[in-house]
Amino acid sequence: MAIHAEHELHKRRFSRNLGVGLLLAGFVALVFGLTVVKVEQLGAVQGFDHVLRSEMLPKEEAPKP
C-alpha cells in the first residue's frame, strides 16, 4: 500500500502549527512594541555613565547676606 505523504490530517496539523507560530510571533512583536511605548512614556531617563554632569548636581544655595 502506497504511503501518502500528504494526508488531510497533516494539513490540519500544519494549520494548527502555523496558527500557533503566527500567534507567538505576533505576541513577541506586541510585547516589544508595548515595552517601547512604556519606556517612552517614562520621559527623559539618564543612566550613570561615570562622567560627571554638572546639570545633575544639586544647586548650591546662594550665600546669605
Binding site: M1, R13, R16, L18, G19, L34
Partner: protein, 309 residues
C-alpha cells in the same frame, strides 16, 4: 490496511479553527466593540498601541470565559440544535483541552491587561471571567430562571473595563454603560427563548419560558425594556453623551418599548400563526440597539475631538 492508517482515519485532530471556535468569536466581536467604545469615550488620551493591547486582552479574557463555559456546558450544548455544532459536542476538541485553554487564556489575559494598562482593569476582567464561568455557567444557568438577568452582568463588563483601562477608575459613565448592557440582556435573550422554545426545553435549562410560562416571559420583556429606557437616556446627560447619542437613544428606546408592548399583547396562538415574526424582529433589533447606542457615543466623542461640540 494497517492499524496506523485506521487510527489516522478515525481519530479527529483539531485544527486551529476548532480551538478558535472555543473562544466564541461572535460573542467576542461584541466584547471588542463595547470595550472599544468604553475606551474611546473615556476622557483620557491613550497611546494607540496600548489601547489596541487593552482591547485585545479584554477580548482574549472574554474568549477564555467562553471556552470555560463550553467545557462546563458540553452536555447541554449537545442537546440544543443551536449549540450542537460547538467544538466539544461535535467531537472536535475534548473537554479537557477546552478547560486547559480556558484557564491558560484567563490567566494570560488578566496579567497582560494589568501590565499593559492598570491592575484595577485587570481585576475587573478577572472578576468578569469568574462571574461568567462560575457564577453564571456553574451556579445560575441550570438552577434559576433569573439566570439571564444576573448572568447578563458578565456581558456588561467590557465597556466598563475599557473605561477603567483608560482612566484607572470607575465612574458614573462607566456604570451606566454597564447598566445599559445589563438591562438590555434579559429582553434580548427572552425574545430568543420565545421562538427557540424547544431548544431550552430539551436541554432542561430553566429559562423563564420553561418555568413560568410564555405569558409571564412576555410581561418580563416589557418590564425590563421599560427599565432599560431611563438608563439609556441617563447616559446621554453625562459627559460622554451628546446630541447624536440622545437622538439615537430616544428613537431606539421608543422602538424597543413599542416592540415590547407588541410582544406583551400577543398571545401564543397569534405568535405561532405568524411564525413569531414580532419576537424575531424584536430580537434582531435588540442587536442593532446596542450597536446604535455605543456607535452614537463614539460619534459624539469624535465630534467633541473635532471641536464641533
Amino acid at each position: 490496511m494497517t492499524d496506523a492508517t485506521t487510527m489516522i482515519e478515525t481519530e479527529y485532530e483539531a485544527g486551529f479553527g476548532d480551538y478558535f471556535a472555543l473562544l466564541k468569536p461572535r460573542v467576542m466581536s461584541l466584547v471588542v466593540f463595547t470595550a472599544f467604545a468604553g475606551l474611546m469615550v473615556a476622557p483620557v488620551e491613550m497611546h494607540p498601541l496600548v489601547a489596541f493591547c487593552a482591547i485585545l486582552f479584554i477580548a482574549v479574557g472574554g474568549g477564555a470565559s467562553g471556552a470555560l463555559n463550553m467545557w462546563w456546558d458540553a452536555d447541554i450544548d449537545a442537546k440544543m440544535r443551536r449549540t450542537a455544532k460547538r467544538p466539544i459536542p461535535a467531537g472536535k476538541v475534548t473537554g479537557d483541552e477546552a478547560l486547559a485553554i480556558g484557564l491558560a487564556l484567563s490567566g494570560f489575559s488578566v496579567v497582560m491587561l494589568g501590565l499593559a494598562t492598570n491592575w484595577l482593569a485587570a481585576a475587573i476582567l478577572a472578576f468578569t471571567i469568574f462571574f461568567y464561568a462560575v457564577v453564571y455557567s456553574m451556579w445560575l444557568k441550570r438552577s434559576t430562571p433569573q439566570n439571564i438577568v444576573i448572568g447578563g452582568a458578565a456581558g456588561a463588563f467590557p465597556p466598563l473595563i475599557g473605561w477603567v483601562a483608560a482612566t484607572g477608575q470607575v465612574s458614573v459613565e462607566a456604570l451606566l454603560m454597564f447598566g445599559l448592557i445589563f438591562m438590555w440582556t434579559p429582553p434580548h435573550f427572552w425574545a430568543l427563548a420565545l421562538f427557540l422554545k424547544k431548544d431550552y426545553d430539551t436541554a432542561g435549562v430553566p429559562m423563564l419560558t420553561v418555568t413560568h410560562g410564555r405569558k409571564v416571559t412576555r410581561a418580563h420583556i416589557l418590564v425590563y425594556t421599560l427599565l432599560l429606557a431611563p438608563v439609556a437616556l441617563w447616559l446621554g446627560f453625562t459627559q460622554v453623551g451628546g446630541p447624536v447619542y440622545l437622538a439615537v437613544a430616544v428613537l431606539a428606546n421608543g422602538w424597543f418599548v413599542k416592540g415590547a408592548i407588541d410582544i406583551f399583547r400577543r398571545t401564543e396562538e397569534v405568535a405561532e400563526a405568524d411564525g413569531y415574526a414580532t419576537e424575531k424582529a424584536f430580537f434582531k433589533f435588540s442587536l442593532l440597539y446596542l450597536f446604535l447606542h455605543f456607535g452614537a457615543l463614539m460619534v459624539d466623542q469624535g465630534l467633541r475631538t473635532a471641536g464641533v461640540l
